[in-house]
Symmetry: D3
Subunit: 307 residues, 6 copies
Amino acid sequence: MFLRIDKLQAELPAPKRRDPNAAAALQELLGGKYGEMSTLGNYMFQSFNFRSKDKLRPFYNLVASITAEELGHVELVSNGVAMLNNGPDNDGDSVDGGDISGAPFEDMKDIRLAAAFLSGGGGSAPVNSNGASWNNDFVTSTGNVVVDLLHNFHLECGARLHKLRVYETMTDPTGREVCGYLLVRGSVHAHAYALALKQITGVAIEKFLPTPNINLDKIPECQKYLNEGSHRRLYTFSPNDYKEMSGIWGNGEMALPGDPPGELVVVDGAPEGGKIHQLTGVPSAFTPDYAPQEMFEIASKLYKKSR
Amino acid sequence: MFLRIDKLQAELPAPKRRDPNAAAALQELLGGKYGEMSTLGNYMFQSFNFRSKDKLRPFYNLVASITAEELGHVELVSNGVAMLNNGPDNDGDSVDGGDISGAPFEDMKDIRLAAAFLSGGGGSAPVNSNGASWNNDFVTSTGNVVVDLLHNFHLECGARLHKLRVYETMTDPTGREVCGYLLVRGSVHAHAYALALKQITGVAIEKFLPTPNINLDKIPECQKYLNEGSHRRLYTFSPNDYKEMSGIWGNGEMALPGDPPGELVVVDGAPEGGKIHQLTGVPSAFTPDYAPQEMFEIASKLYKKSR
Amino acid sequence: MFLRIDKLQAELPAPKRRDPNAAAALQELLGGKYGEMSTLGNYMFQSFNFRSKDKLRPFYNLVASITAEELGHVELVSNGVAMLNNGPDNDGDSVDGGDISGAPFEDMKDIRLAAAFLSGGGGSAPVNSNGASWNNDFVTSTGNVVVDLLHNFHLECGARLHKLRVYETMTDPTGREVCGYLLVRGSVHAHAYALALKQITGVAIEKFLPTPNINLDKIPECQKYLNEGSHRRLYTFSPNDYKEMSGIWGNGEMALPGDPPGELVVVDGAPEGGKIHQLTGVPSAFTPDYAPQEMFEIASKLYKKSR
Amino acid sequence: MFLRIDKLQAELPAPKRRDPNAAAALQELLGGKYGEMSTLGNYMFQSFNFRSKDKLRPFYNLVASITAEELGHVELVSNGVAMLNNGPDNDGDSVDGGDISGAPFEDMKDIRLAAAFLSGGGGSAPVNSNGASWNNDFVTSTGNVVVDLLHNFHLECGARLHKLRVYETMTDPTGREVCGYLLVRGSVHAHAYALALKQITGVAIEKFLPTPNINLDKIPECQKYLNEGSHRRLYTFSPNDYKEMSGIWGNGEMALPGDPPGELVVVDGAPEGGKIHQLTGVPSAFTPDYAPQEMFEIASKLYKKSR
Amino acid sequence: MFLRIDKLQAELPAPKRRDPNAAAALQELLGGKYGEMSTLGNYMFQSFNFRSKDKLRPFYNLVASITAEELGHVELVSNGVAMLNNGPDNDGDSVDGGDISGAPFEDMKDIRLAAAFLSGGGGSAPVNSNGASWNNDFVTSTGNVVVDLLHNFHLECGARLHKLRVYETMTDPTGREVCGYLLVRGSVHAHAYALALKQITGVAIEKFLPTPNINLDKIPECQKYLNEGSHRRLYTFSPNDYKEMSGIWGNGEMALPGDPPGELVVVDGAPEGGKIHQLTGVPSAFTPDYAPQEMFEIASKLYKKSR
Amino acid sequence: MFLRIDKLQAELPAPKRRDPNAAAALQELLGGKYGEMSTLGNYMFQSFNFRSKDKLRPFYNLVASITAEELGHVELVSNGVAMLNNGPDNDGDSVDGGDISGAPFEDMKDIRLAAAFLSGGGGSAPVNSNGASWNNDFVTSTGNVVVDLLHNFHLECGARLHKLRVYETMTDPTGREVCGYLLVRGSVHAHAYALALKQITGVAIEKFLPTPNINLDKIPECQKYLNEGSHRRLYTFSPNDYKEMSGIWGNGEMALPGDPPGELVVVDGAPEGGKIHQLTGVPSAFTPDYAPQEMFEIASKLYKKSR
């Protein structure tokens, strides 16, 4: 079972401007082969299909709890995409779409992924930066523990490369922060799968890291997370379960050489997280509707009744 | 953010026998257009992309919290698929795959979805009962609240039809229980979206229910859940958030006519749930590995260190 | 614009028994690369995109009117699929699905394309015999007249091969009649595109026919259509348009050597056609609904009002 | 069976300029999830697969005849796409492609959907505004009448939203007219499915309309059609069949509140329609060919022979 | 550039019987995510896209020459699939398809992948064991050498698992030999990528092998190849190029512990290989045609002229 | 079996500038329906699946040897794509990616196919100019010789049209040379399949050529190849096999009328070919890595050991 908390895993700055092509680039980290839907999909189905869960508890717990974190990554990238499509935070929702006869969204026919506006109204979707859909081709869940873990290690290294390249295209603080946060957390996951594989095979595969061979100290947006030790923490993302992965993450293992030093530690529960930004409605684009005033009033009454 | 609990939303009986074609049929409820990946994918992206979340809090909360429940449905169906592929619960994991030169899995070339064994080792995957992948085509997230909610209402009615038909092909108690549980919970979601739409439009669309026009009292596997009032409950699936959906689900609204009577109620947190069955490894199929004994011992040591 | 007539292009015999795998084989002729959705899709988009329609009227008319015939082919194969899934004609619709708790459709989990029942309720869908979807990959519409016509000629020859092979798997009269009729009409289309190409290039490409090199007199189900001269007729499938394709089909051209001799002729309008069989509802499968009696009564009243 | 008439359902103005990105945006209404290929595909397969057609005649007729109208919608959007790719009407076809060595189509490598030129020569294709293909995922044909009709109602509401957004990106009169016409006719279909559902369920679901909540009087291009009463008419699109849908559309039902008042009426046959614009060949792009003069002369001779 | 030799890389025994479902299972090794089309596609595009080829010559050569070997693997599996579909070798081609009116291929509607017969006439296709197509989703070509090599190492380990499972379903000697040969050669490739990674990272990743943890001595069909030392050889598959990969494969490196001992060695050119079996035509299935006698005679005359 | 030679089939000039959208257009000739992956895929699987190879040797040899040439075409287009993405040749590889915090690739979010950079690092991939994947839908391998050859003839004519259109968008010499070379070689293949069909059917189908109806003398980049007689040569692309296709290509047949005159001739082996350009690494884009200096040194040592 899963629970939800109405926060993001990290605090995102508001966008400085509307940039649909930056949002489209960020989609690579959502629906691409090495995006968050893929890390989620792989670990989720692997955890469901995990054999001999009891006998392999520390390994199962690792995959199971990282699944929960990946859900939050999908959420974070999705919020980044929608924020970049919608532009700076804005307190005042419009109450009417007004006259729409003058082609108010003419510029939307030239954005790279026009369907993001025409169909999605500026929201995110499980597609890559070219608009190709995420699908089962990106899921490896063989039931063989070594093959699955090795796949996951490769997946995290590939994902790191993709995050770095997307980061290099981003000028807006929202998109850059998404990448910076994910780079730190993705490194944790690569490290964790390496340690799990080392336990089983005896091979010090964590020495591959970092792949690509750039330290996180080169990415300004990562520093805050490194300073607070995020790179040394695996959260259980659970009220009470999954703690036994500390046999793998912990157990005397230390941070990677290029990162701030210290011991690896499993942390109960979730990080504090950051607020979910309001995506201001654009009534002329029919979000949340053309004339939302009445809907707002209905919601306000229902809200009061519920308290 | 999301948390995970190491239980299923419902207690499943163990399968009586291995039945890969039943597992393949159950895949329709996982990766089909009207399967749980679709309900999850739609509500998840809609909740990420929801405009004016604050002003439309009860509606946003409804979609956001049902998303968390759908994660558990994906988990439940996946477990059902893997259990049907693996057969009765079995305490003793084999420790060696033995001699594999005699075509021990000859029968697997004739099962309907051979890749479920050849690639998935008997696990579930985000595909439908014909092996076609789940993808973005099944996601509607327009940013328009009425269109999205109407889509969701139609989706739940269609999903109910698919659950009924899959149920009608199942003889094994595991698959039947999965269907029975999902029929009750899916009815709750259809009802909830109907009530949300009624608040906005004034149309008593909940009178469509049940669609198809069969009452749940015809399904023996549903009775336990009806008796405990599951059909009247929406869980927040959250430690502290989403309670304000009680403005929609609650607020004097009552159970549907054909179901046991009573008031609708929002319940904090998650249901008690049921245990996750052990999927016994099959070393001759390389799950969790061909000779897992050493891996079990490593895991056992790590487990002890972690306590 | 298009009009519709509530008849099939040919009279189909009722199936002798329910045969979902035969229906699944017939799907190759509906949604496969060389199926009727492909002939429809190619000619429809080519006719929409045709350049210099006025100057190339006979060629445009040929493609445009065959498009209309292909619509009827899609309809014919679809009816064949649904009929084979549903079995013999049956006057009496059931009025109630009864007790469904005993796995009444257990056998449906073993049919080749289980989604045809689970999702489609026994209906046809634009997929091939393996369940893979028809899509834009099968459409060639280049705007170059010679390339498009050559594509079409190849498509009809390939389609003929597929029809022959599907025919060879069919024992039921419904499926065999579908194939027999389509073989005759497909030959007409191959012949027509050959003649169009001959006009432009001077190459006697119709001498390729028949491809594969089997005469229609080997197929008992074709004889009725050959006897009535169907192989020499192109219908305009229009109240008043497209007649000028007689410059290509006609104009002294004769039937192919292996077929009954005679001149090619353009016929105004459509063939007489055959009746659409009733697909009896199966309330236990929720078609048209679990308890359709009330729906039948409503429809009956509405019908009376409409007369 | 289907017949074809060599006219469009509406008279389109010629484009003012060539605008491939506008054509690409319009593709959303052709091959997108909520585009005309989808309305066509859904109603076509539902009508083929309809159970108990005789007993449910008014409902069957409704779906069957709207199918025929949707064919014309696919044609209309396709013509719009091709016209926008080709630019203003032009009487004189060029007779030679001339010197092509100077990269005459350099600008085509920068248009959003380059394959529309490179492969399609400026024609339409069954893809959405991002170039993703239409496919079976967009077809719901369950055989359950209520589920199918509810799906259709949701589909038309979603389609209306997409038409509105595409309209808002269009500056050219051709694209705007396509949207304006389809908005009126799509509203008719939403209304019709609502009335069908109301007959079966008793729920006044037509009160959802218009969804999104903007009246058609806000769209200048719709006024002509509203003035002539198009919003109150369902055409049978048939020489003689489908009239009994007047039990649903008619029977005292009235136009929607925001539209010009009046009674709903079934009209025999098809609307008068508008002319199909000539898509001028571009020999340098090999449409209809590099040196089409001889082809024009051949066609001219064949045309004369055919009269 | 590539050259072709009219032999297979290994000598395959003729099938004992026709077994379309075994052929369908073998398809997993052709068009599945971990099949030979994937190893080919990955290494081919990586070799095309390889940066700094001159400076990284030993690494480039490794990927480039293995690409050529993978082409032969695709050929080998394809031949295996077609042979299993066609049955025992047969000297005498039929010269006529005879009377086909008696549903001679009725059994083909029940095989798992009916399109393999209906469309492919019993040939192989780039699809997996469920009929899903190979595509770009399976290609990783990032331009980053470590990520690409790590991907390849994971790919070969995953491919080994799939080969083992397919092997376990095969009773026919043809399919078993295909698996046996590929298991040996795939192990070579996994070993080679491990050694390449070890050179760059210093991590002894070859100690992962074998993954899954079963030695090849458990597979009878592998012994012949092990005995001749195939597991220690990398062929350049080139007249003159790629020899410098001996810096990686060779250079004192030895066979893996579980395999027959000895030094690794680069061998110029290709192995001797085995004959391509004749796929006997089945005229009743229109292969090579319905009445191929004349075609045989034409070919015979052309052959004589060519000598 | 296949061998590889470390050269391209033609000498390509270096690009004058980096042009990702030109690279994206060129992708149509790689992964599009009428691209080189399709010609390769069709002929490769047809040659694997060819029935009665011995009896139909000249025809089999033709398809088998052209397969090998198509591999080189895929390589040539891929190199062209990667070169256009990477820009002019550059001797000096950078040794460090430096400071990447300033969004050094901001412009990459606006290129048409952003994933070509974000995921592919500027390499080619089996997708078309819209980013849609190549797949099995593009492969026709029916086992019927006439249908397959006719398909191939149509495919080469369609491919010629696509090459011409892509050529018309190219200003850079690299892309233009790729098109020029492929136009000549594609014409050879169209001619060869026409002659094969003529032998079997007696129809002079080569008179269709050239299709589209433009002679190669209109394309400056083709002249060099015409002058050296490339249009009259079919290479065996084999050390010793496939020579007997001279019964079809040769045997007194002459060059097409619009091309320089002369007899057709089969040439043993491969053309001389041209050099593979170095794709300079871009360490800031992590190709071949962020800090490749050490990797270069390792490779240099391994290279020396191997000599």
